[in-house]
Subunit: 289 residues, 2 copies
Amino acid sequence: MKELIELVDKHLDEYISVIYPEDIFKAMKYTLSLPGKRLRPVMCLETARILGAEFEKAMPCACAIEMLHVQSLIHDDLPCMDNDDFRRGKPSNHKVFGEAIAVLAGDALISFAPQLIIEKSVGLSAEQIVRLLHEYTYFAGAYGLIAGQVVDIESEGGKFVKSPAETLNFIHLNKTAVLFRLALRCGAIIANAEESVINEFDDFAKKFGLAFQIYDDIMDEISSFEEMGKTIGKDKLSGKLTYVSLYGLDEAKDKFNHLIQECHGIMSKYESRIFDEILDKLKHRIGSR
Amino acid sequence: MKELIELVDKHLDEYISVIYPEDIFKAMKYTLSLPGKRLRPVMCLETARILGAEFEKAMPCACAIEMLHVQSLIHDDLPCMDNDDFRRGKPSNHKVFGEAIAVLAGDALISFAPQLIIEKSVGLSAEQIVRLLHEYTYFAGAYGLIAGQVVDIESEGGKFVKSPAETLNFIHLNKTAVLFRLALRCGAIIANAEESVINEFDDFAKKFGLAFQIYDDIMDEISSFEEMGKTIGKDKLSGKLTYVSLYGLDEAKDKFNHLIQECHGIMSKYESRIFDEILDKLKHRIGSR
């Protein structure tokens, strides 16, 4: 796991050179280089590997997904959105580079990620690349990530079109699970997997994404700034709709444990140490409270 | 020309359906539907046509380029950028939908545009689509449009890394010419044109883009809100670096006329009424002052 993270970090750094106008490339690299668990790229690489493709084939796509993730964090932290001054324990992008450059750095990452897939992918057919780009653009936009963010923002403002439970489920699936789905689906596509296998990994990703968001909701309730590297307790203060606020801490933990169990079940036949490690780590941090 | 604009308007409207969560799709469609000259999509379609491809083949790509253009306008108008309350004579996106949704609508358009090329293109090979997406992502991001915007913002703040003349040229080429280059290059690629022909149209687009920006700089000096549909005279008030502020009105007009002449020269062998009309209209509006 540690080696994979280092490999991802190395490539994230290498893929973007700082040229004129330097500030935009520095801003893109700044949030990208903050230490993270790199869950999405690692899971993309591992999916490709256990389905028979070499790591190298999946590296550009794995890094592109992390770039999309980081883009969403940069724009999420903006004053007009979550207005968060810290990210991964450091000042957020707009605190360092100003709002205008932070908006543009996010914009640039949305385009750079698919550009990377096109320019750096080796050994993939044009059809495979088109398929990857289709997955990327679909999940990145108004049918995925952005839809989740919109409903999240509107529900915070007290605007509900659907019931609170449906709304929360939509947010979790689109704001959080979507990037795991993208990571696993792309990994499987790179390995030329059959549709049934792609769907199996997609199913894992939906469940994992939901578990991961519940984990995040629980941690916002019981953890600290030092542990999470971002402002904690904001959800509660702002009366935000979360799994914990809607179902209570105990039911949230039960749901989380059940989803992790299901994820283990789906992944059991592949004997992946990486996936086991990721699932166990999450479970351990929640379980030890 | 009028028919082509209507055809583009119709497709821009049809390509985006308003589904849940409605606000994001409404926000995307709002700025997109404001009446415009649709120069970039029209020029993309016309390039494809005069090089032997049917309009339909180029329509998704032409509309995708207009979406990218509109995205840049939405983010450009934000309070943290140009802070402009009007666009094409109407309240700008963030004045109608709020800043958060305006940021997200722009983000969504950056992804939706290439998604459209993938989903709606008919009769193009996977290799052609990858090439179109490469052009799109390259010119949309930190190597094109965004680079131009960054240098524009920084020069307004008095930050110059290069000389004012070089800086202005970089801004014009990247902020303005880039979308015309994208439009013409993609039109030529869709028509399966040879590299030499792609380069010829690229050369036209660079010259046209520069002329168009000089036109805009001149109009900001001598025109009115009613005529342009946006706040006028801002450049002068803010002491912004423009072709007029750097070279004076007369030299700007001379340069503009010279570039339009060169554009006519490049395009003469294709006998395109559309390109002639576009060039003549710009020239007429400047010449009649």
